[in-house]
Subunit: 320 residues, 2 copies
């Protein structure tokens, strides 16, 4: 039943009002040449131009801004090391509270620097899941900080849905919307608001073939163990959250997976034609169209480009 | 006297009306982080997202669309091999006429492919200026085609000015505007319309130190011979046009040059923070701010980002 789902459309709508002054209303880009090449009319929601370079700023702000003053005063905490860590540091700074970020001691220097620049308080731990969780638990106990998980959390999911909400409000008559799935927070928020605003819209989830746990779980109707992820789309190596799965089951029309080579080709195509920097995860829905895994002929198609944080010294097409 | 200048503000205003249905109204991007880093409030006019990936689509369309039906029927011609060649091929296609492009036989394969994709009729010649001009002259004689020069032409200059016009109309209260100078067509169009729309605006030209012929000519008040250009900003290796110089003399407040390393640093900074792909020429005005060659503290500063056509296999910071 829809009433059992972790979030409802109203949660996304309230999130949009809550976060609007702290996040960017990102542009929607189009390209006549890409439309010709791909045979569908594409509208790209550019979350690569979001603050901290990824949609994660939305969910983190929603979770932080919704805390009671008492809870907020004790700070927030996460043990993600990717874009969510930077997003949480920024959101905490927006509210002038502490962000405690637990990171493995082998985290990339760029990610450490990014969290530090945003004022995050970094605690290093050994690079195992157990060490992360133990370090986080000890700090939560000691400081009374609130855990903000990267995706398996209703406030985070609702915040991520605001990107699709802006897209659907700005561009009339969207027939289909595509986004990538990692932990499922973005896809859950997107599906929830898209089904509400445009009941007949096609909602299509996309994932790398080589990190297809969410696809398998969606098809099975229960979280399943999949092979370890082995994809260039580093943002999508996480496993699907149990709060996200029922929402994907309730709202998705289709779920397609894509090859690694199509991800790289799609990423390069977007750089060359749209002239924007996107990370491999962002290219996954574009790859689904490029590989003809979906039929969107004559449709008006929205795509959430999730982020643009890449190492400009090492681009994927240069290592092939 | 202003009345001796090759173009007047009305020419830019008429160009805007003439070309509007054929070119993109490109977005204006901003970044809180870049504003903090550079100490001025920046508004980036993204001509890298223009059709063919550069502002050149504007001038070429203005020149082609203004031709009489009789002249247009005999086609247009150029012997530039850069973005202007692709722009002219596109503009000719917009009017369903022939574009004759004279190119040296050693032109990069990507530029040849781009002109061909747009339906341009390519005539190869030996890679010397004499051979280009002789080949072009013979074709003009034979076909009766109209020459559309890349920058030393009033219709082209007026068309290029429409980018600044859109920026100044969209963003209120711009205090300063910066653009790069190669042949001077963009800078002349920009200066003409900016001085008219915002009489008190600071108009600042920028050029690589290692391709500073326009700066030297502007300072001397006459076209001067400079050292051969040796800059990564390949779009700015051309020499200033004699029709552009008087306009730059009439309207510029300042003319600053920048180092090669600042161009590469500025280019990378824009890729990393704005998440857009720009070519080295586009980075030159940003480099002027990064190197503190201009004082724009507390100003609202417009920058024309001229284009985004780069070889994604070889990025300048990777070869250092």
């Amino acid at each position: 039943m829809l009433t059992d789902l972790a979030i409802a459309p109203g949660d996304v709508i309230r999130a949009a009002a809550r976060i609007s002054e702290f996040v960017n209303r990102t542009p929607v880009l189009t390209s006549r040449r890409l439309n010709e090449l791909l045979g569908t009319e594409l509208f790209f929601k550019c979350e690569n131009m979001q603050r901290i370079g990824a949609f994660k700023a939305r969910g983190a702000h929603n979770a932080v801004l919704a805390l009671s003053p008492e809870k907020a005063a004790r700070g927030v905490l996460t043990h993600s090391s990717g874009n969510h860590a930077a997003a949480l540091a920024l959101a905490a700074r927006s509210r002038s509270i502490d962000a405690i970020i637990v990171m493995p001691e082998n985290a990339p220097a760029a990610k450490v620097a990014s969290v530090r620049r945003l004022g995050g308080e970094i605690h290093f731990c050994e690079p195992t899941i157990d060490a992360r969780e133990a370090t986080a638990a000890a700090l939560m106990e000691e400081r009374g900080a609130t855990l903000v998980p990267p995706y398996n959390d209703p406030m985070v999911m609702a915040g991520q849905g605001t990107a699709a909400m802006e897209l659907l409000e700005e561009i009339p008559g969207i027939d289909a919307i595509l986004a990538p799935v990692g932990g499922g927070g973005l896809m859950a928020g997107t599906a929830t608001i898209a089904r509400y605003l445009m009941p007949d819209i096609q909602i299509i989830a996309t994932e790398p073939e080589q990190a297809n746990d969410a696809y398998l779980s969606w098809a099975a109707g229960a979280l399943v163990d999949a092979d370890p992820p082995n994809t260039i789309a580093d943002g999508l190596r996480t496993t699907l959250g149990d709060k996200n799965l029922p929402i994907l089951r309730a709202h998705l029309d289709r779920f397609v997976t894509v090859s690694e080579s199509a991800i790289v080709d799609a990423m390069r195509l977007v750089w060359e034609v749209l002239k924007i920097v996107i990370e491999p995860s962002s290219a996954v829905p574009v790859a689904a169209i490029l590989e003809k895994r979906v039929d969107l002929a004559n449709a008006r198609t929205g795509i959430i480009l999730t982020g643009g944080n890449v190492d400009l010294d090492h681009l994927p097409w240069q290592s092939r």
